[in-house]
Amino acid sequence: MVSTVQNSDVRQKDVDHAVVVAVTSRALFESDTEEDGDGAYAAGVAFPLLQALQRVNEQLLQRNPAESLLFDVVLMTTDSQQQQSSRFMSSTRHHGLEVTRFCFSSEEDFIESLLKNNIQLFLTTDENEVLQATQKGVPSVLLDEHSAVCSSEQLRVLFCENAIIRPSSDPTPASRQAAQSFSSQLGKMRQKFGMFDSPLCFTLVTLRGGKDSCCGALKALRSIGVSVDEAYCLAGAPRSPILSLLRPHFLLSDGFSNLDD
């Protein structure tokens, strides 16, 4: 059973042009703790990411009040008890979060809910949900405690080759396509800002290949409309010192050129 409730406090986005991002209730809120004793949940690990998305929207609208290429954030939950549902909604309002819709479903139906709502990026703290969603072609990000310490002022997206992460499943053509079009959308958003003080920042990291791999990646990203701001070519150097400085909100790995050795 899948149902959607609109958040009347927040202006609805033009779903045909917006980039729809879904975040689970467990990622957004700490369901175990209460805040201020007034029944609202405390902030979860996804908070900084959401605030960064909101900031991008604010800045886009500042430049063009009629902008339709915005992030459209929806909250998804499979915790379908009635009391919980209303607490999610009131907690959202309490924190002033720009969530346009609440999507309720059972655990079995949540994929259906993702697809029905045309989700282009799915944020969750549940590894299984990531696996399932990815297999169905929905770009997904697993958040954890590191997400909680990322910037809330600037959305930092890292483009990186796949080797950094254990591939959990073979990419389907549909998921590749979805990831690429998501990246292109981000690229379009980035173009609306200048070089400095952009609320959106793209970084490329190549881990193993030398400068020619990096060059290929820069060109490939450019061809899908993504101009990166920062680029690091590690050529085999240890990655963690660099990555811990970069603090990306999430990583994307797609659309790179294939440079065989």
């Binding site: 590894e127 954890d144 997400s147 080797a163 193993r208 820069l218 680029a231 963690s240 990583l251």
Partner: protein, 385 residues
Amino acid sequence: MVKMSLDPVQVMSGKVKELKVSPSSNGDARGSWEEKEEFEQNQLSSKPKPVTGRRARKVEGAVFFPKPENAVTIAVSSRVLFRTEREQKVFEQKGVEEYLRYQIEHENEPFAPGPAFPFVKALETVNTRLRELYPQSEQLFDIVLVTYNHAHVGIRLINTINHHNLFIERFCMTGGSSPIGYLKAWHTNLYLSADAEKVREALAEGIAAATMFMPEKLTEVSESQLRVAFDGDAVLFSDESERIFKAHGLDKFFEHERENEDTLLDHGPLKGFLEALGKLQKKFYAKGQRLDCPIRTYLVTARSAASSGIRALKTLRAWGLEIDEALFLAGAPKGPMLEKIRPHIYFDDQMFHVEGAAEMGTIAAHVPYGVAQKCNTNQKTNMGK
């Protein structure tokens, strides 16, 4: 090189947690990705590479990409490796958007060599010799291009590196943020930049650094031997003696040096770099190549041999550092001496000497450290940034 596959958006998972918790080395056997990396690195060095024309550097079985902590890492900014004056003007006069547009438009036009270019070429020559003698060793020069340019300039920089046949495979383009954190992450032994502010920041973090300028004319330098020249006070040594000289004059300076002849001078910002050069030199000596060593170091100091120079030499000896030639000028101008030596780089803390050297075609780098900086703030240099 790894084939990068078209994969959908991947997860920022517990793997990232591991990345951040074990920053120091590949040795930690936590998590499969780290083991995988080590395994692949070993693969990289043992896999024989075909020797093709232009890339003849790839010696069979030799180490290609050393670990930063094992190598002598030289971080060079794009503005000193190449000549980018025209582009700088566009940036200053028309702003960053126009600057980046210009760069992209001229992407296939390589930049001309800048002041650090001969130095970097010489480093590569040393590497070639080191690889011949020690094919499995990671004790090499590792050159990293560290620039706070936006990655839009990346393709032009890479094209330029290829055009000049430089062996630079690692870089950081920070898109405007400070490169200092990255310098530390790369275990940088020396940072060369056109920006005095960034150089000062690096020095404050304990990283040897210097500002480079383009000399009006460039004298030819050796293509087979790396020559590095250092000033003494406030470069290899601390600025304590200079303080005495500036506050109390030459006589007091001599008196102080005489009285303290057996007290070691404190170390200066470039002592570590001299040490790193010394370690590499010893590798050549160990193979009987002392006379033919492709690294040569010089001390060019205003101290005089008979008096104040003794303290300098004793200090170097106590540090276990050898310097190939020590030139005590007793206050004479450094330009002519440097012109004879023709170093690939000369480090001095005083702009007066840097400019003097450059006038005679020596590639000089300013180390903005110590008491001399406060006195020289009025001196305007029109040598550009």
